[in-house]
């Protein structure tokens, strides 16, 4: 009874969230400080609602109930993964995407390294974890930190004027592409034998991850190779999302990564018509799935002690440093030096894939473990704080924008 009512409550909140939060809310209609508006407009409030519903407070979404809701989370992770992967249609890339891809990945890679390396030692020192678990925690944080959410850019970028508009487009492109580092790095975390009861090897789990994704992609391509009505496409899509996610979870792999590979295979081998329809179906559920993640990530959050808050502070600092350094390094010759110096501040918006990465870690590893609790707290605090400041920072960056023409 409780499970089903919890599922209904979560569904209702996801429904309401997708409707009333994010950019649906007119800026002028929200009273209160700019920070409160930022929270409401980016949907971050659902983390708090989830936390309130979780076991530390109301207990409606307690640990047992969350286990029962695992299939919904598995499906959600697969949905996000598939949607991410299906955008990687290489044959449709124009010059802008081709020239922006490498810098976007380099900046995200720099952020991942700048977070991962110090956090390996910080986790070892503060939580007294083994080498393998420190690696899991640090790489997960690196993956989560490397991604840029679209929320602040969508919020502020639309109103950019003059030269700021070109920079806003570039920032959005980077935010579109840099998720690849997060998906791949976290996919690789799930290849570590420690997450498989110390069985198998990195190579075996890597091959299985990629293999599953490719096979599922080929299944979709085969099933959609003849004319299908929209409801049949939905059927194939749901079948793929459920079975891909279920299989990945069954093997303690990342549904996010496996389904991103599936999506990429579908994007590059399917007919254009099928691809457009699949994208449209996936986008339709995207916002509800994201609200669901925010809620359940909040519900699974067991806020750790003050020491973890210090780690969250370190995470924010390292991420900011990484974004500044990464963009300065990656966009040499693409963006004017004066802008390049602080361009990273325009990419601090946090959420989306970072939340999905945390939820994925919670899914494949039992809740209550110190590393999962620490990573959850660090990333969620990071998301909340980033979403408070990032719209203002984006605005500042766009105000002084002078992107150079690509050479």
């Amino acid at each position: 009874m409780k499970l089903v009512l919890a599922a209904a409550l979560v569904t209702a909140l996801a429904l309401a969230g997708s409707r009333f939060s994010f950019l649906h809310l007119p800026l002028a209609g929200v009273r209160g400080s700019l920070w409160v508006r930022n929270i409401l407009l980016t949907g971050t409030e659902f983390i708090f609602i989830g936390l309130l519903l979780g076991s530390p407070f109301l207990g409606i979404l307690d640990d047992m109930t969350l286990v029962g809701l695992a299939p919904i989370l598995g499906m959600g992770l697969s949905w996000i993964g598939l949607l991410f992967g299906i955008q990687w249609q290489v044959r449709r890339w124009d010059g802008v995407v081709r020239s922006g891809l490498l810098p976007a990945l380099v900046q995200a890679g720099v952020v991942a390294v700048i977070i991962t390396v110090p956090f390996y030692f910080l986790l070892r020192w503060s939580l007294d974890l083994s080498h393998a678990w420190c690696l899991v925690g640090a790489l997960t944080l690196g993956a989560a930190g490397s991604d840029t959410a679209q929320s602040a850019l969508a919020l502020v970028g639309r109103s950019a004027r003059g030269e700021g508009r070109a920079l806003a487009r570039l920032l959005r492109l980077v935010a579109d592409l840099d998720g690849l580092v997060a998906v791949v790095v976290f996919g690789a975390v799930c290849w570590l034998p420690v997450l498989h009861g110390d069985t198998g090897s990195v190579g075996l789990w890597a091959a299985l991850s990629v293999g599953l994704g490719v096979v599922m992609g080929l299944v979709v391509v085969a099933l959609t190779s003849y004319q299908l009505a929209e409801e049949e496409l939905l059927l194939v899509l749901l079948g793929t999302v459920f079975s891909g996610g279920g299989l990945a979870l069954y093997l303690s792999l990342s549904p996010l990564f496996v389904n991103a590979v599936t999506g990429a295979v579908v994007a590059n081998l399917s007919q254009e018509r099928v691809l457009r329809s699949l994208q449209s179906l996936l986008v339709r559920g995207d916002r509800s799935v994201y609200v669901l993640f925010l809620l359940l990530a909040g519900a699974q959050w067991h806020p750790s002690g003050w020491s973890v808050l210090l780690l969250a502070g370190a995470y924010l600092m390292l991420r900011t440093t990484g974004k500044l350094a990464g963009n300065w390094l990656a966009f040499r010759g693409v963006v004017a030096p004066a802008v390049r110096g602080h361009m990273g501040l325009g990419l601090l918006s946090h959420g989306g894939l970072a939340i999905a990465v945390v939820v994925n870690l919670q899914q494949i590893h039992d809740g209550g473990s110190p590393v999962v609790d620490a990573v959850t707290t660090i990333v969620l605090v990071g998301v909340i704080v980033s979403e408070l400041f990032s719209p203002a920072l984006v605005w500042r960056v766009l105000g002084g924008a002078r992107p150079m023409p690509s050479s």
Binding site: T199, E231, S243, L247, S252
Partner: protein, 435 residues
């Protein structure tokens, strides 16, 4: 090729087991059910049979009697999805009942309900009564009166139909027109009539078979209360849905799934609560509540069309899931043990439905080309009849199991034969736009 790749994937999972994450198995099996159901549906449609038969076949193949992919524990984990699907299909069935279109055919619907109910119940009951222990070995020790009570129960169960199968075939064929609307109207109405008749038959049977022999009128009264409460609460939910859809017409599919979820669980929860606190066997039927809700949304206010459209958009995955899981639950062992009795019941039921439908249409003065074909659309049977058989097991544990085995075996045959006959009728009448 897709099938081979899916088989390979399944082999991988059985080969490697690393202590799966919570919910991994049901998530994977649900996906497999959807994909295999889709493949089987298309394969069977290629030979002219309805896709629902393909879904059932896929379920049978995956079920515990053959491949064992959907084992009994896994089926238990997926039961939640099954109940959700039943409630969703009931919402969809209610939405198909458009009063403005049905008004002109209310007389025909009424006669078809009366004729098929009476004739089926009486003829199946009579055959069972005459055959006695030759057909039902468990009845060997029963007196004539007791045998009559058992025969009446089987007769009533034979009346039940399957709105979900009917709706699935109508949707698959994209059938629109007076014939399809009449069929669905009759099928839904008969399910309500069956619940009432069953309550009366069960009370009578209990009075005749129990040692103290008292007629339990309270039970029959409780059933009437259940039906009234189901319709009223369904209507209230329908009004709320109608208001919501009118204000916010997006994301209706998610809303409907949530509604189906809540209705199912609140109905079961209320039953448990009333049983625990007042020791009353109140069973609010989620099916009835959802049909009433769907009916109200379709016919009250202006959101009916948007509602129907949203239901239609997401109904295919629900049908595939429901019927593939239904296929997995078909009990081949029971059919092997009781096939003579089961086939006798199927033959008696089918012939009486065919004759009664023809007679009902004739009495109503129906002159349409479909008047001889109504019977073919009423052969489907599932869901509610299995529930009724299980209620008999609960009430009469000494012979209820054997009773249910025979009845469920007959239902399994009807579940397979019914959709084929229905598709044939829809095509013959010319209302099937897709073949």
């Amino acid at each position: 090729m897709a099938l081979a790749m899916l088989a390979a994937l399944f082999a991988v999972t059985t080969w490697i087991d690393t202590g799966p994450a919570p919910g991994a198995t049901p998530t994977f099996i649900a996906g497999l059910v959807l994909l295999l159901g889709h493949i089987a549906g298309h394969a069977i449609a290629a030979i002219g049979l309805p896709r629902i038969s393909g879904y059932l076949a896929a379920g049978l193949l995956l079920g515990p009697d053959l491949l064992g992919v959907i084992s009994t524990p896994v089926a238990g984990q997926l039961h939640f999805l099954n109940e959700l699907a039943v409630a969703f299909i009931a919402l969809a069935a209610g939405a198909e009942l458009h009063v403005a279109q049905l008004r002109a055919r209310l007389g025909l619907i009424g006669w078809l309900v009366v004729s098929t109910t009476l004739v089926t119940c009486l003829s199946v009951g009579l055959i069972v009564f005459v055959a006695g222990p030759a057909l039902l070995p468990f009845a060997a020790g029963l007196t004539t009166v007791q045998m009559a009570a058992v025969a009446a129960l089987i007769g009533v169960v034979a009346v039940a139909r399957s709105p979900s199968s009917a709706l699935a075939v109508i949707r698959e064929c994209d059938a629109h027109g007076p014939f399809s609307e009449t069929v669905l109207g009759v099928t839904v109405a008969i399910d309500v009539v069956t619940i009432v008749l069953f309550a009366i038959a069960l009370s009578t049977c209990q009075a005749l078979l129990s040692p103290n022999g008292a007629l339990d009128l309270g039970f029959a009264l409780m059933v009437l209360v259940e039906i009234a409460a189901g319709i009223v609460s369904g209507a209230a939910i329908g009004m709320i849905l109608s208001f919501y859809i009118r204000r916010w017409p997006d994301n209706i599919a998610l809303l409907l799934l949530g509604t189906a979820l809540v209705v199912t669980e609140i109905a079961h929860g209320t039953a448990r609560y009333v049983q625990d606190t007042h020791e009353l066997p109140l069973h609010l039927e989620p099916l009835l509540i959802c049909v009433a809700a769907g009916f109200v949304v379709r016919n009250v206010g202006s959101s009916g069309a948007a509602f129907s459209e949203a239901v239609e958009r997401v109904s295919l995955p629900v049908f595939v899931l429901f019927f593939t899981l239904a296929g997995a639950s078909l009990d081949l062992q029971a059919l092997r043990r009781t096939w003579v009795a089961a086939l006798t019941l199927v033959a008696a039921r089918s012939s009486s439905i065919l004759a009664a439908s023809w007679a009902g249409a004739a009495i109503a003065g129906d002159q349409s080309s479909g008047r001889r074909l109504f019977g073919f659309t009423f052969l489907t049977q599932a869901g509610i009849s299995v529930g009724l058989a299980l209620e008999v097991v609960r009430r009469f544990p000494e012979w209820g199991e054997e009773f249910a085995t025979i009845v469920v075996a007959a239902i399994s045959v009807n579940q397979v034969v019914g959709p084929v006959a229905m598709k044939y009728a829809l095509q013959r009448v010319g209302e099937a736009k897709r073949t």
